[in-house]
């Protein structure tokens, strides 16, 4: 019982550190495409991992009144974030490349001749 509690606390600490590093990278990196990497670290490491951690911690904590409801909702929200966040980031990157919003100097552009309403 307390083993689940300590595993959840460890995941929450990892999530807090990843969230801070993702925010620092989003503030400090020079380009939109590089900032996308930092944002993915901040979302997956800083939102999905603490949600699974809260699920484990709420299963192990015996002082919570509604611990099974909190654990189930946190687990479902973690899976939703894990599915939905890469799709949103990919759509945003595709739109920014197609509209030409970002100034950059590419060595090789694999999407150069791509046209279509994908």
């Amino acid at each position: 019982m307390s083993l689940l509690f300590y595993m959840g606390a460890f995941l929450i600490v990892i999530g807090a550190l990843c969230d801070f590093f993702g925010a620092l990278g989003l503030l400090r990196f020079p380009n939109f495409y590089v900032r996308l990497h930092a944002a993915t670290v901040g979302i997956i490491g800083g939102a999905a991992v603490p949600l699974f951690g809260v699920a484990l911690l709420a299963l192990g904590a015996d002082f919570l009144p509604h611990r099974y409801a909190i654990a189930g909702a946190s687990f479902v929200t973690g899976i939703v974030v894990l599915i939905v966040s890469p799709a949103g980031s990919h759509a945003l990157a595709y739109a920014a490349h197609k509209a030409g919003l970002v100034e950059w100097e590419p060595e090789v552009d694999h999407l150069e001749g791509v046209e279509g309403d994908g």
Partner: protein, 94 residues
Amino acid sequence: MSLESQFMLLMKFVIPIYLLAFVLYAVRAFKGPTIADIILAVDCLSFDVAAFMAILAVYFRSVYLVSGAMVLALWGYLLDIYVAKHIAEGEVGA
């Protein structure tokens, strides 16, 4: 030392780190040069507020905060898709 006091000691270290990260995301959302940077920062902020809300549900011993976390995660995805469609094609059609 019971589990409850250990959890309160953990929250003394975790909550300030989360609040500092929220401040940094908000700074990028206010000074972003392009529209995509602003949307990316607001997206990260919404997902992380959802996770922080799940942590606060354990901290305040309340069930009702977790349902708000799920709705907030889905809203961040909706914002991404709408703005990407609007940037790429100039319209948000059906």
